[in-house]
């Protein structure tokens, strides 16, 4: 069920990337897309009555009810890389704003 939320966020992010020309909004759309992808990847590893994959004193010893830890580890990587991409994108946006005094890509235009 949660997969639909992930797919919906991915589609909203792609729609935002296609329609907007504002640089900050583009970065926000990219973040929404990334969030949807992360939710989708985590939901792939879900099992019924799943527990977080951490051994504690009151976990049954047959270990059958853990959710899949591998997608979570992948998403941890993806979150950090998404953070790096967002920081770099915001730095580029700030630099462009310093030169053109606007964030709108259609006002800035292309190379002649």
């Amino acid at each position: 069920m949660i997969q639909f939320a992930g797919i919906a966020l991915i589609l909203i992010g792609i729609y935002g990337l296609m329609t907007t020309k504002h640089m900050i909004k583009l970065i926000i759309a990219l973040n929404v897309l990334e969030l949807g992808a992360n939710i989708f990847i985590i939901s792939v590893g879900f099992v019924k009555n799943g527990l977080a994959p951490i051994l504690t004193a009151d976990v049954p010893s047959d270990l059958l009810n853990f959710v899949d830890p591998l997608p979570q580890a992948m998403v941890l990587t993806a979150i950090v890389i998404g953070f790096g991409a967002t920081a770099l994108g915001l730095a580029v946006a700030r630099k462009v704003y310093g030169k053109y005094q606007t964030y709108d890509l259609s006002v800035i235009g292309g190379e002649e």
Partner: protein, 245 residues
């Protein structure tokens, strides 16, 4: 018009995603337990060659990987090389931000009395909580990345409170570089002692104890320090392009 065409394209994409995924994934019926043939089953039972012996908290000793948090054991032990690459990506993005925004000096910001006082009170507590989270990364949820981010948040709160960066940025760069170097040195020791890069060559101890899991806590402390100083450096670079309000 453009928005309408984009909307139609999204609908087509949604249709294809739904029809292609519906056959391969069961949307409404998650499985009752983890598939025995999945690779993660080996990670959970801490035996990469495929055994399914029970692992008990506080009792099992001398396992292949002694971390109680299985996500940590995947991130820092079984797929540690991946984490090294991830840290490299973060380093490159911090380098890019520094190249783009590092030239200015930044204007001093004004902050209110409440923020100024609360920042002095709260930021040391946040710093300690961050350190707690990354030293207990192999036992509880969390680890190097959330702990490091929390330390950087304390740095950001301190900046908001005082209006300017008062920390010595050169020492942050040193801490970041040394943490990265030590990560690679630990990996290289594994290459020479145990035969493969970043292999867990220290005794793994009892599952659930603070001093257990071999090199995992050491690497997570290094990752926490590196992420904390790196993100603080990014914040400091962004503060240099600040203008007077």
């Amino acid at each position: 018009m453009k928005k309408f065409i984009s909307f139609l394209l999204i609908l087509v994409l949604a249709f294809f995603l739904m029809t292609s995924l519906n056959s391969s994934l069961d949307f409404f019926n998650p499985p009752n337990s983890l598939d025995e043939t999945r690779m993660s089953n080996a990670f959970i039972h801490k035996n990469a060659s495929g055994g399914s012996d029970p692992v008990e908290f506080g009792k099992s000793t001398g396992l292949e990987d002694g971390s109680a948090n299985i996500v940590t054991s995947v991130v820092v032990d079984y797929r540690s090389f991946d984490t090294l690459g991830e840290i490299t990506v973060l380093f490159i993005s911090a380098l890019g931000v520094g190249l783009l925004l590092g030239a200015g000096t930044g204007a001093k910001q004004r902050s209110g009395f409440i923020l100024k006082t609360a920042a002095k009170l709260i930021s040391p507590l946040m710093m300690v909580t961050g350190i707690f989270i990354f030293t207990h990364g192999h036992l509880t949820p969390g680890g190097g990345f959330p702990g490091g981010s929390m330390m950087a948040t304390a740095f950001l709160l301190n900046y908001f409170g005082s209006g300017s960066i008062s920390t010595d940025l050169k020492s942050l760069k040193w801490m970041e570089s040394l943490a990265g170097v030590f990560y690679i040195v630990i990996g290289l020791i594994g290459l020479f002692v145990a035969g493969s890069f970043l292999q867990n060559y220290l005794p793994t101890g009892t599952v659930g104890h603070l001093f257990s899991a071999g090199i995992i806590p050491i690497i997570y402390v290094l990752v926490g320090l590196k992420v904390g100083s790196e993100v603080s450096g990014i914040i400091a670079d962004f503060s240099k392009s600040e203008v007077t309000s």
